[in-house]
Amino acid sequence: MTSQAASLPVDCRQVGVRYGHTQALDRATFQVEPGQVYALLGRNGSGKTSLVRCLLGHQRPTAGRVELFGQDVWSSRQALMHRVGVVAEEPDAPPLMTTRQLVRFCGGLYPTWDQVGVDQRLQRFRIPMDLPFGRLSRGQKGQVALALALGPKPALLVLDDPTLGLDAVARREVYDELLGELGERGTTVLLTTHDLAGIEGLADRIGILHQGRLLVDASLEDLKARHRKVSWAPTQAVDPRDLAPFAPLWSRAGSLGGEAILTQGDPSQVPGLQAHPLSLEELFVALVGSDSEVAS
């Protein structure tokens, strides 16, 4: 193992998970560098949850190896969890414990626990400290989970869809908190999410899982540089076949005109085409949308 690999916060190699005859995850390989924000995207059932469970040592992969900070996560889970903060997809704290009791419980387990930071965060989120966790709103549960995950000043933060079910304000608060944490401490973050717009200004690198396979593992900048979105008006005589030299990833044409996402070349030489900025959501839909829409 090289020293660089040893220092990698996340190193997944050929990770596979199988449930009976179903291959939930197929040879997923990716790394997350220190200080990086890695967003793992995918539709429901794409294998994200299985991958996160393997990453946290909850589940043993049927193939491959998952390492955090150079240590095998299955065999060294306890030691590694001192350096990892987790926000689960479904808030999983005991429903009858109050926030105060949860803070006391978690605080006693970590030598690096930042009590002042946790109290400040919970105050900022306006969380009632003596209400049982099960009686908090969905958004408040997520905020408590985030405050607890940041409590031990983790070197790696794993967020499994932290904004699921949150309203716009609560979502913004979660992202602001994350940005603050990243700005202050440069924590490495691995997050799964369906909120593609929310992470566009946050993620450094994107992984896209589809049907258990990691289709994309690239920096957001690279992805946007490699793909161009173009459209044409109905009055323009653009034949989608004219786009073939640009290796379209996805295209759609109709009575209202057409649009396409191209993967190579400079389409400005084609008359009638207009270039547009490409959003992560458009790219995601083009990559993992229904098969009939995917051109390649």
Partner: protein, 268 residues
């Protein structure tokens, strides 16, 4: 300290059980107070206090064992503990200690009012108290571990259940066969020893199976069931083998005078 943190976490929200136990204790006390025949009060206190306290402790241990891990797994809450820097042994022992502690305190709360106020405590020596507590706690431990294993086996809904059923059926048939061999020779004390030994062995196996379910199964209920099934099948087989060796030894080394009379002089 981490074990105690897990124990405290398990106690949170289950304190109502203690109120229930106290209520049972008070009801018994009222029963004794309004007793029309006070001569038998101490006997009733003995039965109602000690018996019902022990029964309550065992019921609580049973229910706690049946839910302590499997319900967390089914409701996807077990990840909360796995996401903390806790060793599987700390998680499992913390939960077992919480169950035993809850059973013990509830049993005491249910029995103490009638035992203390009826004056029964004056007749109880330290040895009696030790025996009552020992039986109560040992029974609670067996029930807690057994129903933990059963709850994992039932809730995982996997085919490993067939191995469980086969192992337990084989075990009970084996115990019956060994017991009959001892009964045929009149070796009743040895049968009690055999059963005691088997119970200790099975309890040890249940403890190991419970730990492995947490350590190797983690958030995967079916994988945990696999470990419980394999461990219990091995344990039951080994315990039965030890029991067979014990019975063989007893039958071989029993003094001739203690052996059963020959068939021709047996009273028909």
């Amino acid at each position: 300290m981490s074990i105690l943190a897990v124990t405290r976490r398990e106690w949170t929200g289950r304190r109502n059980v203690l109120l229930l136990a106290l209520g049972i204790g008070v009801i018994q006390l009222l029963g004794l107070y309004f007793d029309p025949n006070p001569v038998t009060t101490q006997d009733k206190a003995s039965f109602m206090g000690v018996f019902s306290g022990t029964m309550l402790a065992w019921v609580i241990a049973l229910l706690f064992g049946a839910t302590m891990v499997s319900r967390d797994l089914e409701e996807r809450r077990f990840g909360f503990l796995l996401n903390q820097p806790l060793h599987p042994a700390q998680i499992f022992l913390g939960k077992v200690m919480a169950g035993l502690g809850l059973a013990l305190v509830a049993g005491l709360l249910a029995s103490l009012p009638s035992v203390l106020l009826s004056g029964l405590w004056r007749q109880l020596g330290l040895k009696d108290v030790g025996s009552i507590l020992g039986v109560g706690l040992a029974g609670s431990l067996v029930l807690l571990l057994f129903f933990h294993a059963v709850s994992i086996q039932v809730r995982s809904r996997s085919l490993w259940l067939l191995l469980d059923l086969a192992a337990w059926a084989g075990f009970f048939l084996g115990v019956r066969w060994l017991s009959l061999r001892l009964i045929d020779t009149g070796a009743f004390p040895d049968m009690v020893h055999l059963w005691g030994g088997l119970l200790v062995g099975v309890t040890l196996g249940l403890g190991i199976a419970g730990y492995l379910q947490v350590a190797q199964g983690r958030a995967d209920l079916q994988r945990g069931h696999h470990w419980v099934s394999v461990t219990m099948a091995l344990t039951l087989g080994l315990v039965l083998l030890a029991g067979w060796a014990d019975v063989a030894w007893v039958l071989k080394h029993r003094p001739p005078a203690a052996k059963a009379p020959p068939a021709r002089v047996q009273i028909r």
